[in-house]
């Protein structure tokens, strides 16, 4: 008697089943956004006497309810804000900053450590504009830090790496290189160009 072979299972409907699952996942997928601007809020303090800061060390940015931008008492477009902020931070009025390339204008900031950007917004300011302004101010710091990173990096063995890439590499688990040294360089640059962005309530 001939041995009967097992009948083959029809796999024709496999595609249908897979399609069903595929469509389910297509519909339910939302690729979440997980990037953004990190900020730190100032802690609540009991009435502390505000430190006395020279007027020329403060870069005032005002956003009114109509989304107009007033920088140092002058109307400005948002696209010009980055350059203005860089010029202010990099000014080096008292000449103590050896790595600055600013014009040493005596009516602008003393050095990056003393320079403070003050941002004030109205209740009616739109969030989109506020984020754009925040973005430009962060960009100004990043431009200066990137420039500094390209100067400091090669001495420490990190060539062709700007500040943003350094931070990215530091977080990246696959980065091959001396991470403790990288952290030192990052911290050094952060001290040289501290982010002093104060928001007025």
């Amino acid at each position: 008697m001939a041995k009967r072979s097992a009948p083959e299972v029809n796999a024709g409907s496999m595609a249908d089943i897979a399609f069903l699952l595929l469509i389910f996942f297509l519909v339910t997928t939302t690729i979440e956004k997980d990037s953004g601007l990190n900020r730190k809020l100032p802690p609540m303090e009991e009435d502390v006497d505000p430190p006395i800061i020279k007027q020329r060390n403060i870069f005032t940015v005002l956003l009114n309810g109509k989304d107009q931008l007033l920088v140092e008492e002058e109307l400005m477009e948002i696209k010009d804000l980055r350059a203005a902020a860089i010029e202010f931070l990099d000014n080096n009025g008292d000449g103590t900053c050896t790595y600055c390339k600013g014009p040493k204008n005596s009516s602008s900031s003393d050095n990056p450590d003393k320079a403070i950007i003050s941002l004030k917004n109205d209740r009616e300011t739109s969030y989109a504009t506020y984020i754009s302004v925040q973005n430009e101010l962060v960009a100004a710091y990043n431009v200066l830090r990137n420039r500094r990173a390209l100067e400091v990096g090669p001495q420490n063995g990190f060539t062709d790496m700007n500040f943003v890439e350094m931070q990215k590499n530091y977080k990246d688990a696959r980065f091959v290189g001396n991470k403790t040294k990288l952290k030192e360089v990052i911290n050094q640059i952060k001290v040289e160009f501290p982010q002093k962005l104060s928001e007025v309530q």
């Binding site: 796999a11 496999m14 595609a15 897979a18 399609f19 699952l21 595929l22 996942f25 297509l26 339910t28 997928t29 939302t30 690729i31 979440e32 956004k33 997980d34 990037s35 953004g36 601007l37 990190n38 900020r39 730190k40 809020l41 100032p42 802690p43 609540m44 956003l63 989304d67 948002i78 696209k79 917004n121 109205d122 209740r123 009616e124 300011t125 739109s126 969030y127 989109a128 504009t129 506020y130 984020i131 754009s132 925040q134 973005n135 430009e136 962060v138 960009a139 990043n142 931070q167 977080k171 309530q201």
Partner: protein, 159 residues
């Protein structure tokens, strides 16, 4: 019955669909891997602004989300002004502090200082509500915040 059967020339041969399941499975696996199930269903309009100086939100540390925006279609009874949404429901400003407290209570103690609050705010919202929330966060000492944005040229935000 003829001895020589005429070969049937049925035009072009059928395309084999045997590899179709493979292709579909490939797509299926991609979407299965890329899918993040939504934590909260949104009751507000939430189209985020864009920025280009963004940093990735560190998922190793705990993150709490606060949503803000105008109530979306179907929730018009909550008004047309921007509202706060915590978890799955609309919330008042005074509930923000309690929400952070609850989020902290769910965490291991050593992680509490690393709690980041991600603000997902609609781009049409105004700063009044955002400022109020920030003030509430300061009161409960939740100082690490992140303005969640898409990636793009920030100058496109303003039309």
């Amino acid at each position: 019955m003829s001895k020589f059967k005429k070969k049937s020339d049925g035009g072009t041969p059928a395309i084999s669909t045997a590899s179709l399941p493979d292709i579909v499975f490939m797509l299926l696996f991609f979407f299965m891997v890329a899918t993040v199930m939504r934590e909260n269903s949104l009751k507000i309009k939430n189209s985020l602004p864009v920025a280009n100086q963004v940093e990735k939100l560190d998922k190793k540390n705990p993150v709490s989300y606060i949503y803000m925006g105008k109530p979306s279609a179907g929730y018009e009874k909550f008004g047309t002004e921007s509202r706060i949404q915590l978890n799955d429901q609309f919330a008042e400003l005074s509930e923000v502090g309690a929400f952070i407290g609850a989020e902290r209570a769910a965490l291991r103690e050593e992680l509490i200082p690393f709690l980041t609050v991600a603000l997902k705010v609609d781009k049409d919202a105004n700063m009044g509500i955002v400022g109020d929330v920030k003030q509430e966060l300061r009161k409960v000492n939740a100082l690490k915040i992140n303005y969640t944005t898409g990636v793009g040229d920030a100058l496109n935000n303003i039309k």
